[in-house]
Symmetry: C2
Subunit: 146 residues, 2 copies
């Protein structure tokens, strides 16, 4: 899959989370051939775990492995500083982001550490997050630690 | 409890992890009165979750709350970039570290963002981690993403 297709997979994850009453943020990890190796979506509401952001859940689901440096982390929304730190710990070299208009994460930190970051500015991701923040501002602010 | 006593609590968590065959790294969160509000230890081996560092597990165990900005995060070992990012997301203002001789985490990132960081250079923490790294180097390197 190419980056646009991978964002489509992350978006499907986000929509699963939304359907379950959670935050609509989704993530996938893809290998060098563009095959999805793990998926995840934000589970804060569903599990009560404040660290269960989409990217952390996706990396958790990827399990114990040694090929992190060949993977691409894909997220519907610009990764926060926790998710950025998680990508940096595992030395994931490439990150694809759906949008950073509704929330700008720690993109500078990824770039400072040499990670290749692509922001697709995807209209579907923008609309999904905008609508969610308008509908559930308290849940959103809790999720980003405010 | 004071910082030395809190490190003693984190050390007890680390020893629980070691007794279960895991990495001996422990963490607690304390409130402004020095009372422990959450505990955790590294669970990578026990759970197969690569994000289950002591500090992340401790914050996970703390659950959904709004008092992060009054808490102190205590860890036997200097927090890695993932755990640092997690503390920053929740705007935890104070971090107490047992030691940074066996591993230097992202302390600069904490300091850059205005977090008050205290390193106790605790001999028990140093010896525990040194002995573990000597005994299980592969497990240690996997844990820090190498």
């Amino acid at each position: 899959m190419n980056d646009e297709q991978l964002i489509g997979e992350a978006l499907a994850e986000a929509q699963r989370g939304l359907a379950d009453g959670g935050l609509p943020i989704g993530s996938v990890l893809a290998d060098a051939q563009g095959q999805v190796v793990a998926r995840g979506h934000n589970l804060r509401v569903q599990s009560g775990d404040p660290t269960a952001h989409a990217e952390v859940v996706c990396i958790r689901n990827a399990g114990r492995r040694r090929d992190w440096r060949e993977l691409t982390l894909v997220s519907t929304l610009s990764p926060c500083v926790m998710c950025t730190g998680t990508g940096l710990l595992f030395q994931i070299p490439r990150v694809v982001v759906g949008e950073n208009r509704n929330f700008m994460g720690a993109e500078d930190l990824f770039r400072e550490r040499g990670v290749e970051l692509t922001v697709l500015d995807d209209e579907r991701c923008i609309a999904m997050m905008r609508d969610f923040i308008a509908a559930q501002p308290d849940l959103w602010h809790e999720d980003i630690g405010l």
